[in-house]
């Protein structure tokens, strides 16, 4: 006949404790694994950085300094032009300084890429000085145009030699340079002058 035995239920708390222990172990595992990963990542970063810094310290520190110096020259010009964008006025001191900074920036970029400038940048400096020395001279536009043409040619030569992809930018610079009318007073074509410096700034930044 029928028989139905009974038995004591197995207590559930050992399973709960076991579950908690497993969860705790998983959490600990995940935490430590993440920590390990972080350490590994740091190690990897260090391992990639150390040789580079060693390389710089041991052999190429002057070269790096040169690069930084060149970048500084270009940045100085770019910032100078950038700061002037919002200014309504344009004086000879500004044009003088802009030309000098542009010369330095072009020199810096040329040095950086190993390009030898054959043009007479000293002559451009003379044009720049002339603007500052005699602010009442009416032929400043002519000097600015000549300086701009020389510098444009230098930048075009660099572009052709090293940056073939920047033809459009050089064309814009040439156009901006051509927009400076030697026969018109500088103060009457401030925008053309500023535009030229701006285009030169854009081109130098793209020559990177």
């Amino acid at each position: 006949m029928a028989e139905i035995k009974i038995e004591q239920k197995k207590p559930i708390w050992p399973w709960m404790i076991a579950g908690l222990v497993i969860v705790a172990l998983i959490v600990i595992f995940l935490v430590f694994r993440d920590n390990g990963k972080d350490t590994a990542e740091v190690s990897a970063e260090v391992s990639t950085e150390v040789p580079e810094s060693s390389y710089i310290i041991d052999t190429n520190e002057p070269a790096l300094s040169g690069v930084e110096e060149n970048n500084g020259m270009i940045a100085a010009y770019v910032n100078f032009v950038e700061d002037s964008r919002g200014r309504m006025g344009l004086d000879h001191a500004y044009t003088n300084e802009a030309l000098l900074k542009l010369i330095e920036a072009i020199n810096a970029r040329a040095n950086e890429v190993g390009y030898e400038i054959r043009a007479d940048l000293e002559g451009v400096k003379e044009y720049a000085k002339g603007i500052k020395i005699d602010p009442y001279e009416t032929t400043h536009a002519d000097g600015i145009r000549k300086a701009a043409d020389i510098l444009t040619n230098v930048l075009e030569d660099m572009q052709l030699a090293i940056y073939p992809g920047l033809t459009a930018e050089v064309d814009e610079l040439k156009s901006a340079s051509a927009s400076i009318d030697p026969e018109v007073l500088t103060l009457e074509q401030k925008e053309a002058v500023k535009n030229y410096f701006s285009k030169a700034s854009d081109l130098l930044q793209k020559m990177n």
Binding site: M1, A2, E3, I4, K5, I6, E7, Q8, K9
Partner: protein, 180 residues
Amino acid sequence: MMTDTNKNLFNLDELSGYKVAKNYHDVRGWDVKDANDRTIGKVDHLLANKIAERVVYLDVEVDESLIEEGHNTYQASASKGVHAFLNKEGENHLIIPIGMATIDKKNKLVITNQIDSSTFAKIKRFKKGDVLVFEYELDVVRHYKGDNTIHSSNDVEGFYDREEFKNTFHEGGLEKPESR
């Protein structure tokens, strides 16, 4: 009669630390059929003995038809001078010693080949939740067996060792647990 607590008998539902053992059938909710294949009710609870660690009674909620039949039987029996219990309104539970039942696990049925519906109809029933005392158990077993001399002692000791509570009552209907 049913207010004293019998510490040897526990409703399995109330024994929170116990359950039907593995490979044994939990027959709660299964229909109960008598010797004439008539459904007399449904297993509502399992009454277990903790010391023996087994179920000793099936607590059956009987069908309304059987209750009605029992009422008529009582009226007729009383007039004939035959002993019978007088059941009150709401008393619709009875117990069956586990050894007097077989389990048809395929059809989920409990079958009592030794007891017919008229025997069930004449037995004293109780309300759901009533606490059963040993005297009641003794009366029920004696009634089912038709022998008032069964277990002359009023002590429960040894009572559940009787064949009515074992699975060896009828060899032919032995219900073996599933093989492990």
